[in-house]
């Protein structure tokens, strides 16, 4: 599936940073602002520590800045105050804003300029394609990439007499409807639930069905794109969920949309160090460590192959589900990702309009039409900024 959530962008301030006062012998500090807390934060700290211990020219300092929104915001505010970090973790909905900002140093360019010859073909292509520009150059570094996976309660399945699902064939929505109907019949109060509904039920749904989310190849080919999610397929899907809601097969538990992702801002100071650190993050052992401890994708094929060879997925078959899902088809122009301005607002709009379907205020068609109309206004506003 096309939509991964996390990435990082490398960005460099347009302003010059004066290194005059710096004594050469002292390591150059590279600030990385990220949104990884708790267990993931510890994994990040460990990865940083391995890098810092491996050489003495640069010291990477990782700082947790809150959730993705807050981290991006901190980056924006810091940039305006000319105190931006070298690396900033952002999330996929901010990709367009970041790319057009003039505040970033594209990853492909950074690595080339600093003499790192990265074989981008060795990365999981569906992950990279979300963060490439129209020419196929990688703008930001994927970091914590993920895809939505559905979990089911084995005990309740057993109780309802539903056979366990086949581990190789994906379940269709129609089949899911039958399964949830049996569950409800067996006395379970709700059949299925989803968080991040815009991401899972509209964005990913469109991607896996190879339906354009927006015109101009989902916005990759121009800022004058328009949303297309009021198409019959998506409307039918929303109408189906609404029907399921009526008989208890689906229930809505709130938005909780803070999507994961990462972007990186960088300053000219020590760009080489940043490049080295990026390379470090892409290192096979680091990727394996990252994947094992967080569940995010290993972004290089080599790391994935190694994990397979080590029999990791025999032990932990569920860890592979997401990767198989993401890589089961080559990304197409309309399934590789979304490149929309004011995407955060657009997601909010979709969430809002869906909620109005769930609480009987609007029909699915009305809601999707209105979501398109409102989103297009946002897209036009965004377009004007860069005219």
């Amino acid at each position: 599936m096309k939509v991964r959530k996390l990435l990082m962008i490398i960005a460099v301030a347009a302003s010059l940073v004066f290194l005059a006062g710096q004594v050469m012998a002292e390591p150059i500090t590279i600030n990385w602002w990220h949104a990884m807390k708790g267990a993931r934060g510890k994994v990040v700290d460990n990865m940083i520590k391995v890098f810092n211990d491996s050489q003495s020219d640069y010291v990477v300092v990782g700082t947790y800045k809150g959730n993705y929104d807050e981290t991006v915001n901190a980056g924006v505010a810091a940039y305006r105050a000319r105190k931006q970090p070298h690396l900033l973790q952002s999330f996929e909905v901010g990709t367009q804003t970041m790319m057009l900002s003039g505040a970033i140093y594209p990853v492909y360019k950074l690595m080339k300029d600093e003499g790192y010859n990265i074989n981008w073909k060795g990365y999981l292509q569906p992950v990279l394609s979300y963060y490439m520009n129209a020419n196929g150059d990688l703008m930001s570094m994927p970091f914590n990439s993920s895809t939505p996976v559905m979990y089911y309660n084995v005990d309740l399945f057993k109780k309802a007499g539903i056979p366990m699902l086949d581990k190789t064939t994906p379940v269709t929505w129609d089949e899911l409807g039958k399964i949830t109907a049996k569950l409800v019949k067996s006395g379970v109060p709700g059949g299925m639930v989803t968080g991040w509904q815009s991401w899972t039920q509209v964005e990913n749904y469109s991607a896996i069905h190879n339906i354009a989310f927006a015109s101009k190849a989902n916005g990759y080919e121009g800022l004058d794109c328009e949303l297309l999610i009021n198409n019959p397929t998506v409307v039918k899907h929303v109408a189906m969920l609404k029907k399921w809601m009526k008989d208890g097969r689906f229930f809505y538990g709130g938005q909780k949309f803070a999507g994961p992702k990462a972007e990186f801002l960088a300053q000219n100071a020590g760009v080489y160090g940043i490049a080295a650190f990026m390379k470090h993050l892409g290192r096979q052992d680091m990727q394996i460590y990252w994947h094992k401890n967080t569940g995010y994708f290993p972004i290089t094929l080599a790391a994935y192959e190694q994990l397979k060879k080590d029999g990791y997925y025999k032990e932990q078959p569920y860890q592979e589900v997401g990767i198989k899902q993401l890589t089961r088809k080559e990304p197409t122009k309309v399934s590789r990702g979304l490149r929309l301005g004011y995407f955060i607002q657009i997601r909010n709009i979709i969430n809002e309009e869906l909620e109005l379907v769930w609480n009987d205020t609007k029909t699915p068609q009305e809601a999707m039409d209105n979501a398109v109309k409102r989103s297009n206004q946002q897209l036009r506003e965004f377009e004007k900024i860069y005219k």
Binding site: T97, G102, G253, I344, E353, T361, I385
Partner: protein
């Protein structure tokens, strides 16, 4: 007469107010001017592409049905919070004023919730009213079959944030009302009682009119509170949802500016709010300050 302190040095007074001036300049005027500039610009978040567009942000705002809806929501929310917290505050104050035993303890307990920050108040109420884990929500669902769902239904969500916002403001109102009640001469009320006026009549014809300056002041403060300080409650409980049903003006500024990174539009909204609060403050100075003398 007003007391005047006379400074022998001409510069000393200025020096003494300098820290305050600096603080005000840095934390109020500077951001306000920045906001004003931002509100007439169309720019990207990083400030690399900025165009001067006169008042387009404002016209866009007032032709946006969602903004107008948000104004309506805010007025409804504000009026509800003020009504609930003032009527309950006044009721409790009247009761507490008559309490004979443990007066001090009762009052202190009633003032406590005011010390709770709005965000924490939001979380507390969420633990009571959230449809999935709220104790009260689950109880009323099980025992009374009430179909309570603020995650889905706008009216339920609105009720929830009104309760959470009004709750802590009740204490604030209580403090002022009890002070106001104590300033009312006992002799007036006793005289009325001797003349045979019922407790309700005494309240309506003596207490209430004498309390009106307090009431006015408290109303203004409650409106300011519900307009600007309830952000934490909304952020914790509903995030403006469902379907934008609790998206009050202050929350919309945050959503558009901080989450959506639409700097111009959100700055324009801030300017609108700023004008509003200036208006309310002027009103307060003009009327409240004058009438406060009455009670003294």
């Amino acid at each position: 007469m007003i007391k005047r302190s006379v400074f022998s040095s001409r510069t000393l007074p200025y020096l003494l107010i300098l820290p305050q001036i600096l603080v005000t300049l840095t934390f109020f005027y500077w951001p306000a001017v920045q906001g004003l500039i931002q509100s007439v610009m169309r720019s990207d978040p990083f400030g690399q592409h900025s165009t001067f567009i006169w008042f387009s942000n404002f016209t866009a705002l007032f032709t946006d049905p969602l903004y107008l809806k948000s104004i309506g929501i805010t007025i409804f929310f504000s009026a509800s919070v003020a009504t609930v917290s003032i009527s309950i505050g006044l009721f409790i104050a009247t009761m507490a004023n008559r309490a004979l035993k443990a007066k001090a303890v009762v009052r202190t307990m009633l003032i406590w919730p005011y010390a709770v920050a709005p965000a924490i108040s939001g979380i507390l109420w969420l633990f009571l009213l959230h449809p999935s884990y709220g104790v009260v929500a689950l109880a009323i669902k099980r025992w009374f079959g009430v179909d309570w769902n603020p995650v889905l239904r706008g009216s339920d969500a609105m009720f929830m944030i009104v309760m959470a916002s009004a709750w802590k403001q009740i204490s604030y109102n209580f403090v002022f009302f009890i002070a106001g009640l104590q300033a009312i001469p006992k002799s007036l009320i006793e005289a009325a009682a001797i003349d045979g006026a019922s407790p309700f009549r005494r309240f309506r014809t003596i207490t209430l009119p004498l309390l009106s300056p307090t009431l006015f002041f408290v109303t203004v403060m409650n409106i300011i509170y519900s307009f600007f300080e309830t952000f934490g409650v909304v952020h914790m409980m509903t995030q403006g949802g469902p379907g934008g049903a609790t998206n009050i003006l202050v929350y919309k500024v945050y959503q558009d500016g901080f989450i959506g990174l639409n700097m111009g539009g959100s700055a324009a909204q801030s300017i609108v709010l700023m004008s509003l609060i200036i208006g309310v403050t002027v009103l307060q100075f003009k009327y409240v300050e004058k009438k406060v003398q009455y009670t003294g």
